[in-house]
């Protein structure tokens, strides 16, 4: 029996390689049996590292993802949209909270993660580096970006790490509201006045490229990816997820008279795969590396917010409290 969590420094046990080989075999057998890994289990260092990286990025994406939609929070048209948008952005912060908590169980503190976000050391989803220029952008994000995220999150919720799966189950439940309210707002514009329709078409034209980037660059099945998939850290390839997204949502866009700005987009019925123009993977790389339209602003806002909340947090700190890693 042990208690009181464990101290943050104690991240990895030093064990001999022979021990490790046996533990690795047991670990992999557990995953093969469909069992979950829990926080205090032995796990390969690389499993821990990759999970932290992935969950942390996911959490950052929720925090930063609150900003493009937040752009319109004070301008949402009418009570219904105003309330729904506040609730939605609130959920994103709630999701970030759940995800940071899940990542913390792996031994990285929330403070460390946020610092890594502020310095640009850890990444977040690339799409949030694009501006939300009009109200229609909010509906495109709410409908299609959330839809893309759901494909990803439903897959990951069947992964191997218990706390991440539990967080994702709750997140997916809430995302279904996000998707529905986004779809509703999207349809309202598509089928509304000409100006509303045009505003939506313009927004989709601008967002299509980031949407195609959303699930990441095409897969090169490396040994690394194979290992992550065997460990159920990664549950589907980027291409598979993108394909699934296009399967589900292209018809929903076209059925209400909105067009997709890629003449080459079509499903190859023989292979079941969607074909499309090169969505400019060089741009994707540039934006990831900091050179996107809104990268600087997004980080500057987070820095501003953290800095101006600092007096509240430090006023309430109690140095005598024992800090441990959350349990589950």
């Amino acid at each position: 029996m042990y208690g009181g969590g464990y101290i943050q420094e104690e991240k990895q046990e030093a064990t001999s390689q022979i021990d490790d080989a046996q533990k690795l075999a047991e670990f992999e057998a557990r995953i093969d049996r469909g069992e979950k890994i829990e926080p205090h289990d032995w796990m390969p260092a690389d499993y821990r590292k990759q999970l932290i990286r992935m969950i942390e990025q996911h959490a950052h994406s929720e925090v930063i993802g609150a900003l493009p939609e937040g752009t319109w929070i004070t301008r949402a048209p009418g009570f219904r949209r105003k309330l729904a948008l506040i609730a939605k952005v609130q959920d994103e912060i709630g999701h970030a909270h759940l995800l940071y908590s899940a990542a913390e169980t792996l031994g990285k503190s929330r403070e460390q993660m946020i610092n890594d976000l502020l310095t640009g050391k850890s990444k977040y989803s690339n799409v949030f580096n694009y501006p939300a220029k009009t109200w229609a952008d909010v509906t495109v994000i709410g409908f299609l970006i959330d839809a893309g995220a759901i494909v990803n999150q439903v897959a990951n919720s069947k992964g191997s790490y218990g706390p991440y799966c539990r967080a994702l189950e709750r997140i997916c439940y809430e995302e279904s509201f996000h998707l529905k309210q986004g779809h509703d707002a999207f349809i309202t514009l598509a089928t509304g006045t000409k100006a509303q329709h045009d505003m939506l078409q313009d927004a989709l034209n601008r967002w299509w490229k980031p949407i195609m980037h959303f699930h990441g660059p095409p897969d090169k099945i490396s040994e690394h990816t194979a290992k992550l998939m065997r460990w159920k850290v990664k549950m589907a390839t980027n291409d598979d997820m993108r394909n699934q997204f296009l399967d589900m949502y292209v018809p929903k866009i076209l059925e209400i008279g909105i067009t997709i700005p890629d003449p080459n987009l079509k499903k190859n019925e023989a292979t079941g795969q969607w074909e499309f123009s090169d969505p400019d993977w060089d741009e994707f790389k540039r934006v990831i590396n900091g050179d996107g339209p809104c990268n600087a602003e997004r980080l500057a806002v987070r820095q501003y917010v953290e800095e101006h909340g600092k007096w509240v947090r430090t006023a309430m700190m109690n140095p005598n409290q024992k800090v441990v890693i959350p349990f589950a």
Partner: protein, 132 residues
């Protein structure tokens, strides 16, 4: 860094109102600045068990309860919440999972209802009476 290389104009009116440059490149979160963690237990309705649902960070129990209410009582049906410091939770190690192995083993059927074939015996008795 004093100047932010903003590539596009700021669109969020809330952000336009603040001086973004004032803090750029200077912010760092101190260790434990986000307070300690509390484990949250949620009771869906009277009569149910409290069930662990996650954690919140808070400086004290009262705020932990308020935050738990928001994060875990906001969207789920709820009548009550408990919080306790993560550091006050004690548990077995998963390495010792095998000590629970035989809880439901066939050899322990003597403490299960299914381990006792009462009807069989009654029927046998009734049958023997009929014959007699």
């Amino acid at each position: 860094m004093s100047k932010i290389p903003l590539n596009t104009p700021v669109l969020d009116p809330r952000i336009k109102r603040v001086d973004l440059e004032s803090t750029y490149g200077t912010t760092a979160i101190g260790e434990n600045e986000h307070w300690i963690s509390w484990e949250v237990f949620h009771q869906k309705k009277r009569g149910d068990q409290h069930v662990h649902v996650g954690i919140v960070h808070a400086p004290d129990a009262q705020l932990a309860l308020l935050f738990a209410k928001e994060q875990f009582g906001r969207r789920l049906a709820c009548v009550n919440l408990w919080v306790t410091k993560s550091s006050d939770i004690f548990s077995f190690s998963y390495d010792d999972e095998d000590i629970f192995d035989n809880a439901t083993a066939p050899e322990k059927q003597y403490r299960e209802a299914a381990g006792f074939k009462v009807m069989e015996k009654i029927n046998r008795y009734k049958k023997s009476k009929q014959k007699a």
